[in-house]
Amino acid sequence: MRKDGRQVERLQLPFRVAFHISMQSVRIRFWRSVITAAGTVLGIAFLVSVLTAMMIQRNSGAVTDPTEKYRMTWLVIMSLLVCLVGITNAMLMSVTERYKEIGTMKCLGAYDIFIVELFFIESALVGLIASVIGWFLGVFAVVLIKLFSEGLKVFGWISPGEVFLYLLLSIVIGTLLSVIATIVPAQVAARMPAAAALRVEV
């Protein structure tokens, strides 16, 4: 401490440890994570289903309405925004549930930024997994529907390269969505006082 003339040592939370804690947190609070993930899964599934449907339509040679594209873009953006709010809500609940844990970490010396870091890693992890699931569901649903309406020739209209590209796109958007949605909850968590650890529910 500077009053003693000593250097203020920086406390640290190595990424490896933070990652481990976040990973365990997702695993142990599995159902809470599923709820958080559901937002991303649905948003990404919708995005990918629209993209896949448009690809199949394009490759089938059917005439497309040019205004259709704008309408779909608008719908996808709106759905992603709704998901964002959903994830934020689920994360906020999760923060309030964990007040004691957060307070305890602070009593052990955690800086505010450690808490933010833990929540961001956790949401990125959930977002990543949810994106992959969402991508799969989106492609699967559209292919299944088209299979019923158009028959086996649908497979000729799917370009695997493009579908793979959707996966990358999903991961980027889904993870980003999840992390952005966590900004506010993580701040709420970081502002929680260390004294929260002493609170006892009556």
């Binding site: 203020v8 939370l13 602070k106 010396g109 800086y111 006082p193 002493l198």
Partner: protein, 257 residues
């Protein structure tokens, strides 16, 4: 007897005070009303002593406890820990103090549920910059010290209340703190387990020389405390040395139940 690394202050009389509270006043806003939780508390805590703060709920006991533990700041007056005025510390310095100088023990144990016993004990050491290997070695050593050498890799949910509190005590000791703050450490434990925990705390106090400050209702605590501070209506009602209360406590402990 472990020599504390950061001893650098002695008062003129030769008694070392680790915590000094001077005219501490704490006011809270309750709606539009000002509630005075602490009304001018002056208290010096000697290095190495076992001090219990007692008082009914609403007496300001918890507020005083939070002040001493660097968890809250007084409205007026000051709290010094190791002669450092807590009001002068910024957030990072406070975090450092909580990590290295103070160990916390809670009524509800407060282990991090997603981490094993050993990981819980390791966490403050990792924050403090120890390598994983060093932290593992010391974590095992500490868990053995509190009698949990066989339960290193159990999650808190797989441990009994008494065992969880032992892990919490090991965690509080992780960075060789000078002070252990225990908030109702026996509040959620049965009589026998509570007694064991108190004995463990007393033993650590004697063997490691760590100052223990505990807020409690538990009269079992009186038995082992060097001093008991009774708080009433935001003021210190009286301070008792152990010698003076021993007989009276014997009466309380003697009653069945």
């Amino acid at each position: 007897m472990a020599v504390q690394p950061q001893t650098n202050q002695t008062t003129a009389t030769g008694t070392e005070y680790i915590v000094r509270c001077k005219d501490v006043v704490k006011e809270y806003m309750m709606g539009t009303q000002v509630v005075r939780a602490l009304n001018g508390v002056t208290l010096d805590i000697v290095r190495g002593e076992y001090l219990s703060i007692m008082g009914p709920s609403g007496s300001g006991k918890s507020t005083l406890f939070n002040m001493i533990g660097g968890l809250d700041k007084p409205t007026s007056g000051s709290v010094f820990i190791n002669d450092v005025d807590m009001a002068q510390l910024d957030a990072q310095e406070l975090a450092f103090l909580r990590c290295r100088t103070i160990g916390y023990i809670f009524q509800t144990f407060n282990l991090i549920p997603v981490m094993t016993a050993l990981e819980n004990v390791m966490l403050p050491m990792i924050f403090g910059g120890l390598s994983t290997d060093e932290a593992i070695d010391r974590g095992i050593e500490l868990l053995k010290l509190v009698g949990l050498g066989e339960r290193l890799h159990h999650k808190p949910s797989e441990l009994s209340g008494g065992q969880q509190q032992r892990v919490a005590i090991a965690r509080a000791l992780a960075n060789n703190p000078q002070i252990i703050l225990a908030d109702e450490p026996t509040g959620n434990l049965d009589l026998r387990t509570g007694k064991e925990i108190i004995e463990l705390l007393r033993q650590l106090n004697k063997e490691q020389g760590v100052t223990i400050i505990s807020a409690t209702h538990d009269l079992k605590m009186v038995d082992v405390s060097d001093r008991i501070v009774w708080i009433r209506d935001g003021r210190i009602d009286r301070v008792e040395e152990r010698a003076a209360v021993e007989v009276r406590v014997g009466d309380v402990e003697g009653t069945p139940g």
